[in-house]
């Protein structure tokens, strides 16, 4: 079954340059594809491969590679299988195409990704604030955003050194942070 | 007092003179007709004063009835002669297209109408009736759109004449006389039978054509809608009443029998109901007025079908009221043709006309204290006094018809006064003459309210005199031979 699926996908993507189909698990395939070929791939998947349901779009910040990885999870109700289309785009300028015209639910996912990663999707119906209506800072899920530093800047810490804890610490117990865990 | 004959003769003469005179001098030709009618008016007035309410008979050429031509002059006849002259004068076609012809026809109509009011024998009545037909046919045909309706009118009218003639013939075969007084003497013995009744029915249907009696009135809406409004006013106001007057005379003097009354009642009631119902859905004002006229005339017939003086009283009251109101309404309708919805807001430019219309509508519906109410009250009282389900049925029919009448009339009134309608092309203003004439009618209506008590009394006297067949017989001195013939049979 899975073999058939892979074969089917291979056939489907043979025209798309650089598309690589991998079987992750039963009924779970991964396709790596170039950024400029992704819309074509999704169109094929939706139109000919019966992957009509966009489950989610996820984003990974590969800060070391200076790339965002976008993963489009599409589901087929006919073959009951999930295809994750992986593509990578440069972090800078962080602009990509919207697939709103293929999958309407993409609007929400893209808006969310825009809010969390600062990635801009051209053609998406709305790039307004979505959930973080109060948030003024940088996109919080980017790896170059240091949440802890932000928290330290924004909030004060509570010093909590009651007597009973002191006794425990003196006795060698209590909360201890290993030296390598302490962030500068 | 014999000069009363002149009211028939003079207009007739003038009618023949008018074309000639008009050829010589247009203005004189135009003035001749009104002048003659004025003279008639004056004659009638003097005769009325001289006779002081007493009836008298005139035998034309000195021949005694039943052989000669008899004019019978009582209060009713004088009243109608007077009203004829007055109405013709008031509704004189000052601005017609073919003036001499119209004037001549109008004069003939006046003469014939006067004759109808005065005639004392059936044959003359038939002759004058025919004359009226001819004149009115001519007048109707002067309208631009009225040729087809006029022909229908002619056919129906002719058919009616035939029926009436057959009826008269039947009467003659039964009695050998056509003098009303004589017939009145002979009726109890000769005409209270199926043949007499048949004669009555035929005459009723025949004369009924003019009187807008139920089944023979189908010409009415079309003719009134297309004829010049002054002609419609004359026909609806005057001619129909004269025809009704003839029927009244016959009913009182000759055919005073139950079945005859019954036929009248039925046909009258049908007239009321169909007329008012048809008017309810009428789409233009002239037709609506025509249908309404049918209804009102039906009411007159219902009233006449009440035996005795009450019925005459009520019928006369309704007829006179209608005679005042309907011509005025037709005059007002002159510039309010076309679809009723087009009249929205017409009161804006024409407030007097709209107010007059409202007044007449109120009176027509019978709102106290306007005369229409009292006339209707008389009818209601008369019907209520009668026993028999048919009379009560008629009462119900008339009252329901009144409701329908109120609805459609006041739908129009509200349309007239509708203020915030989209700007439709404003209807033309009425000519001053029409408004003035209608105003005259309105004023007379108001005057009637103020003079209600004396008016009602004099009308009651007229009704008494009219309903008294014996007095009629007493006035007309019959030739001895025929009277003995009547006695012996």
């Amino acid at each position: 079954m899975s073999q058939e699926l892979t074969r089917m996908l291979d056939t489907l993507t043979k025209d798309i340059a650089g598309a690589k189909v991998t079987l992750k698990r039963a009924r779970r395939m991964r396709i790596d594809v170039d950024a400029d070929a992704l819309p074509a791939l999704l169109e094929l998947l939706q139109g000919r491969g019966s992957y009509v349901h966009l489950s989610a779009i996820s984003c990974v910040d590969w800060i070391d590679d200076n790339q965002f990885e976008l993963v489009y999870h599409v589901w087929s109700y006919e073959s009951n299988s999930l295809v994750s289309a992986h593509t990578r785009i440069p972090r800078d300028p962080g602009v990509y195409l919207s697939i709103y015209d293929l999958y309407k639910p993409a609007a929400f996912f893209e808006r969310d990704i825009h809010e969390m990663f600062g990635l801009y999707f051209e053609g998406s119906p709305s790039m307004e604030k979505f959930i973080l209506t109060e948030w003024e800072g940088p996109p919080p899920m980017r790896k170059d955003f240091d949440a802890e530093a932000w928290v330290r800047d924004t909030f004060t810490e509570r010093d909590y050194n009651p007597e009973w804890l002191k006794e425990l610490t003196d006795a060698g117990g209590g909360i201890a942070i290993r030296p390598q865990d302490i962030r500068k | 007092m014999n000069q009363i004959v002149l009211i028939v003769v003079l207009p007739l003469l003038a009618a023949f003179l008018v074309p000639i005179v008009a050829r010589m001098s247009a203005s004189l030709g135009a003035a001749l007709g009104p002048l003659v009618m004025g003279v008639c008016l004056w004659i009638t007035g003097t005769v009325a004063i001289e006779s002081a309410g007493n009836a008298f008979a005139i035998n034309i050429g000195g021949f005694m009835p039943p052989l000669g031509i008899t004019f019978f002059v009582d209060r009713l006849a004088l009243l109608f002669a007077f009203l004829t002259a007055l109405l013709v004068l008031v509704l004189w076609p000052f601005q017609g297209e073919h003036r001499p012809r119209e004037h001549a026809l109008t004069l003939i109509l006046a003469a014939a109408s006067g004759g109808l009011a005065l005639s004392g024998d059936l044959f003359n009545i038939y002759v004058f009736y025919e004359l009226v037909s001819v004149a009115s046919f001519g007048l109707v045909a002067t309208g631009r759109r009225s040729s087809a309706p006029a022909i229908r009118y002619l056919i129906l009218s002719g058919f009616g004449s035939v029926l009436a003639l057959v009826g008269i013939a039947l009467v003659y075969t039964q009695t050998g006389t056509l003098n009303l007084a004589h017939l009145s003497q002979l009726a109890p013995t000769h005409l209270i039978n199926p043949i007499g009744l048949a004669a009555f029915a035929l005459i009723l249907l025949g004369v009924g054509v003019k009187a807008e009696l139920f089944p023979v009135n189908t010409w009415v809406p079309e003719v009134y809608a297309t004829a010049p409004n002054r002609v419609s006013a004359l026909l609806a106001g005057l001619v129909s009443k004269l025809a009704a007057l003839v029927i009244l005379r016959l009913l009182v003097l000759v055919f005073a029998q139950e079945q005859a009354l019954l036929v009248m009642l039925l046909l009258g009631l049908l007239g009321v109901i169909t007329g008012e119902l048809a008017a309810w859905r009428a789409q233009d004002m002239n037709r609506m007025l025509a249908y309404s006229s049918i209804g009102q005339l039906g009411m007159v017939f219902v009233a006449f079908s009440i035996p005795g003086e009450t019925g005459v009283f009520a019928g006369l009251a309704i007829a006179l009221h209608h005679l005042v109101v309907k011509p005025a309404l037709f005059l007002l309708a002159a510039r309010w043709g076309g679809a009723l919805s087009g009249l929205a807001g017409a009161a804006g430019g024409n407030l007097p006309a709209a107010l007059l219309f409202t007044l007449f509508a109120l009176s027509l519906v019978g709102v106290p204290p306007l005369p229409g109410f009292w006339a209707k009250l008389l009818l209601v009282m008369g019907l209520a006094e009668q026993v028999g389900p048919l009379y009560h049925f008629a009462l119900a029919g008339i009252l329901i018809a009144t409701v329908v009448e109120a609805n459609y009339l006041f739908r129009i009134v509200s349309t007239l006064f509708h203020r915030d309608s989209p700007a439709s092309p404003a209807p033309q203003k009425h000519s001053g003459g029409d408004i003035a004439t209608a105003g005259l009618f309105g004023a007379s209506l108001i005057a009637a309210v103020l003079l209600l008590i004396p008016l009602s009394q004099s009308l009651k006297t007229i009704a008494q005199q009219t309903a008294d067949a014996a007095a009629y017989r007493a006035v007309v001195t019959l030739a001895p031979t025929t009277s003995t013939l009547g006695d012996t049979q």
Binding site: L132, E134, T154, F155, R158, Y160 | -
Partner: protein, 231 residues
């Protein structure tokens, strides 16, 4: 487990009324207050799940005169049961300000104390008492019903002895709280409740009721005047 948070500012302690009758009356009212606590449990996080057991047959809060209520107008205690995201905090402040004084705030779960397991999240407020005068924290992740009830009893004791007047602190140091709120929510922050007006009405002014933050508030706020009847 349960520790008092000391009142942050020294309060302008109201002088005890000298009239013995008034004293008795005050004591009576304090007692009645302590025995009748209507709570509004603002279910922000996981701690809310521990409240139903505390209310129902096993533990039965009603023994202590504690009843759940649904609107802030009726409530005396605001129970904040779990992490407080910044968005939620706005609603909590709105709700708190709509409650009638004397009112008490109880922070339940560690998250309200110092952020708990969300200590480094950009989305949650860490210390509730920076924004609202918290009377009592019930720490734990999550505290069990016994702990909740024990905490409530502690609060009852405090109220009975007239020691739980933190709500006055909100009026008296409004500028401080407002400053913290503005720090988090931006300069346009405004609640529909006119706290300064209330403080003025009830004579609850303190030295820090007004300050630079309230000035900022007054410069941006939309009108809050009640609708007076006009003839």
């Amino acid at each position: 487990m349960i520790k008092d948070i000391p009142i942050i500012a020294e309060q302008a302690q109201q002088p005890r009324r000298t009239n013995p009758l008034a004293h008795v009356f005050d004591e009576l009212m304090n007692f009645a207050r302590s025995r009748s606590l209507f709570m509004l449990h603002y279910c922000t996080g996981c701690g809310a799940i521990e409240l139903p057991p505390a209310m129902t047959s096993r533990f039965d809060m009603e023994r202590l005169g504690i009843q759940p209520m649904v609107t802030p107008r009726q409530a005396d205690i605001l129970l904040v049961t779990g992490y407080v995201s910044i968005k939620t905090l706005k609603r909590i402040i709105l709700t708190y300000e709509q409650m009638g004084s004397p009112k008490h705030v109880i922070g339940i779960c560690s998250c309200t104390v110092n952020g708990g397991m969300y200590w480094q999240s950009y989305a949650t407020a860490k210390k509730l008492d920076e924004y609202l005068p918290v009377d009592l924290y019930i720490a734990g992740c999550m505290p069990r019903p016994e702990a909740v009830i024990s905490g409530l009893q502690k609060l009852i004791d405090n109220i009975k002895h007239g020691k739980s007047d933190n709500w006055k602190d909100y009026y008296q140091r409004y500028d401080h709280y407002l400053g913290n709120q503005q720090h988090l929510f931006g300069n346009n922050w405004q609640t529909p409740t006119d706290v300064i007006g209330e403080a003025r009405e009830y004579g609850l002014f303190g030295p820090q009721t007004l300050g630079q933050h309230t000035e900022l508030l007054e410069s941006v706020q939309k009108p809050l005047q009640p609708l007076e009847m006009k003839l």
